[in-house]
Amino acid sequence: MEQAEKKKSGMTKGILWIVLLMVAVIQIFPLVWLVDFSLASSNELFTSGLLIIPKTIQWGNYVKAFVDGHFLLYLKNSILINGLAVILVVIISIMAAFACYRMRWKLSGFVKMLLLMGLMIPIHATLLPNYKIYSMLGLTDTIWALLLPYVAFSLPQALFLMTSFMESIPVELEEAAVMDGCGIYRIIFQIITPMLKSSIATVAIMTFLNNWNEFMMASTYLNSPKWKTLPFSVLEFTGQYSSNYAVQFAVMALTAAPAVLVYILLNKHITKGVAMGAVKG
């Protein structure tokens, strides 16, 4: 009996493994494909096969991506803007979540609703009005032109995740802290924040990935190369009618690399964060 059960569980495990492997292959294949195509010449791209074996490996595509695509400047901008956006979103969402859920004041419900309503606003609808506001304030072509909308559009989702997670932290903890003479900021930053670690990771990675590839706002609010982000690098190889696809693949592979890296680093926390937030919410 026991042995049969073991056998059965072994079999389910096997099936599970196969299914998971297949899912993994499907997930990873686009990346492999991207790297593969980035090493071929433009003419070799149009094959009927899934992957191509380049006649000579075209490292030149990467050189072009770095030099003509201004990769390093754009990478610096992307990292700076996304890094700041992530930090701001995390800090603001923790504070806002605490204020709306743990502090009792007249308008807390209303403010919470107001912030969450941001989830419903499509980015494209705000493009032109925001452009006008930014240009009147002289913010276009500055780092703020990207930082403000990136933080603003990531905030509702972040707040949503933070609050559902925060509700799982027992109020007694805070009561104890107050008894020991803790001020409100110490409660937030020394008591609550350390316990929110996995949801912070979730919020960080979501904000980062959403904004990393963002192009529409960046192309509208920026004019000079000063603050342009990585998606502009692809554009440098877009011709009037047809484009240099091979180099664009190289740029995209380079652009994807940091995002993949961030995901791998935070991966452990993100699944935990999403799952726990979901159940306790």
Binding site: S41, S42, N43, L45, F46, D68, H70, L72, L73, K76, N77, L127, L128, Y131, K132, S135, M136, T140, D141, T142, I143, W144, F215, M216, S219, T220, N223, S224, P225, K226, W227, L235, E236, F237, T238, G239, Q240, Y241, S242, S243, N244, Y245
Partner: protein
């Protein structure tokens, strides 16, 4: 408690303003450092802040902003544009030209934003109603003095698309002709002949398919090449009534005129006769072109700007040296002569009406259109025909393909003008370019298609 809150809020406000101050200070420093690395291709990007709002007087440092639809500055038309900009800055050391370049969709979105505020001094435009109607109505473009350009040898009629109520708002950059590129060697080897009539073309499709080659590589995924093909057919059917029939259709939002119906049916016949490759309705520009340049297709329907294929080293030699062209063959009962061709002047440049340095902007515009600039460099780089007389720049060392195209244009008795998809409002353009695949492959009926595009411009 309340007082504490207020003080916290005040402190936060102070902190934010301080951060903002530091941030912009940092921004300036980082920007100038970045500018030196990025500056080589796109002009210098680090002076934008300092010149804003400065009144400009003679001899003073002037910054011109150029908004271009050519993001690739190292090849083709973008290289031509950048070469002229660099020359201008060398000749006029007090002028700095900053280039901002986006590709078509992003360009048009940002153009809308700029229409509200801060239009750059010189901009790329399209001399077609789909784009220019709204722009001229918004009064964002400066009127140019048409008499200044009498010596610029613009091809007759090429300024029409840029003229509203007798006022000139822009200058055309190219003359585009819709042609069939074909592989001469492949034709000779198989004994195929250039079709004289549309029926010949469809019959030829069977012959070519019989040997396992795609007759015509078509970029159907994008929609606009099919719309150009449709316009080409319509022009063959109605000849010089083309413009009237199209504008009548737009006036009534009714495209059911028998001539238009016939043109759509001819397009459908082409697809039915397997003239285009399998899956043409979803394949894009690069894929279609590659079918032809790899020798998998015998013909390629595209604009004259692709004459540079003849000098493109990426294309195998025995193919690139055998590329020749012919224009759309006559349609039975059609009014157009064989020398009437589908050609139009699309892209061009204009000057912003609100530019603070309008004088300098116009000066630069005129510099670009000096006969030995855009026309000559464009010709030398094989990016197609300019809208000006290029006769002076023929060196005799042109490729056969280039000579053939120039002959076609010189021999032409009349030109069609703007393709139908660019004749109406922008919603019409979007609709026809996404609906035309379905009518060609039979998913929608011809009548449904005509009523769909009719409603889109109401």
């Amino acid at each position: 408690m309340k007082r504490k809150m207020v003080s916290v809020m005040l402190a936060t406000a102070m902190l934010v303003t301080m951060l903002a101050g530091c941030g912009s200070g940092d921004g300036g420093a980082a920007g100038s450092a970045g500018g030196s690395t990025a500056g080589d291709a796109a002009g210098n990007g680090d002076t934008s802040g300092s010149t804003d709002g400065n009144g400009v007087s003679d001899g003073e440092q002037i910054t011109l902003k150029l908004f271009s639809n050519l993001p690739d500055r190292k090849n083709g038309q973008g290289l031509v544009e950048q070469t002229i900009i660099d020359e201008y800055m060398v000749e006029n050391p007090n002028v700095t030209i900053e280039v901002e370049a986006l590709d078509e969709e992003a360009y048009k979105t940002k153009f809308k934003a700029y229409s509200m505020y801060g239009m750059p001094d010189v901009v790329s435009i399209w001399g077609q109603p789909a784009f220019l109607d709204e722009v001229v109505a918004a009064n964002v473009l400066a009127e140019l003095n048409a008499e200044d350009y009498t010596d610029y040898k613009f091809v007759e009629g090429s300024l029409d698309g840029f003229t509203y109520d007798g006022k000139l708002y822009g200058l055309p950059r190219n003359t585009d002709i819709a042609v069939f590129y074909y592989n001469q060697k492949m034709f000779d080897d198989n004994g195929w002949t250039i079709p004289e009539t549309y029926d010949d073309l469809l019959a030829l499709a069977d012959e070519i398919n019989a040997v396992g080659i795609t007759p015509v590589a078509m970029d159907g995924g994008d929609g606009w090449p099919l719309a150009v093909y449709l316009s080409d057919l319509l022009y063959q059917i109605v000849g010089n009534d083309y413009a009237d029939i199209v504008s009548d259709a737009f006036a009534d939002s009714d495209f059911s005129a028998p001539e238009i119906t016939e043109a759509v049916e001819l397009l459908k016949q082409a697809a039915d006769a397997k003239l285009f490759q399998n899956g043409y309705d979803s394949q894009d520009y690069g894929t279609a072109m590659n079918l032809f340049t790899n020798g998998q297709a015998a013909m390629f329907y595209m604009g004259s700007w692709e004459t540079s294929m003849a000098t493109n080293e990426d294309i195998p030699e025995d193919i690139r040296e055998n590329i020749r062209v012919f224009t759309m063959p006559a349609v039975e009962g059609g009014k157009a002569a064989s020398t009437d061709i589908a050609a139009w002047n699309g892209g061009g440049y204009a000057v912003s009406a609100n530019s603070e340095v309008q004088g300098e902007a116009v000066k630069f515009l005129n510099y670009m259109y000096q006969p030995d600039k855009l026309s000559k460099y464009g010709w030398e780089n094989g990016v197609g025909l300019s809208a000006q007389d290029q006769g002076d720049y023929l060196t005799g060392s042109e490729t056969e393909l280039q000579k053939q195209i120039i002959d076609i244009l010189n021999a032409s008795t009349s030109l069609s003008g703007t393709p139908i998809n660019d004749c109406g409002p922008s919603t019409f353009k979007a609709t026809i370019e996404s609906a035309i695949q379905n009518v060609s492959n039979g998913t929608t009926t011809v009548d449904d298609f005509l009523s769909i595009i009719g409603t889109s411009c109401q």
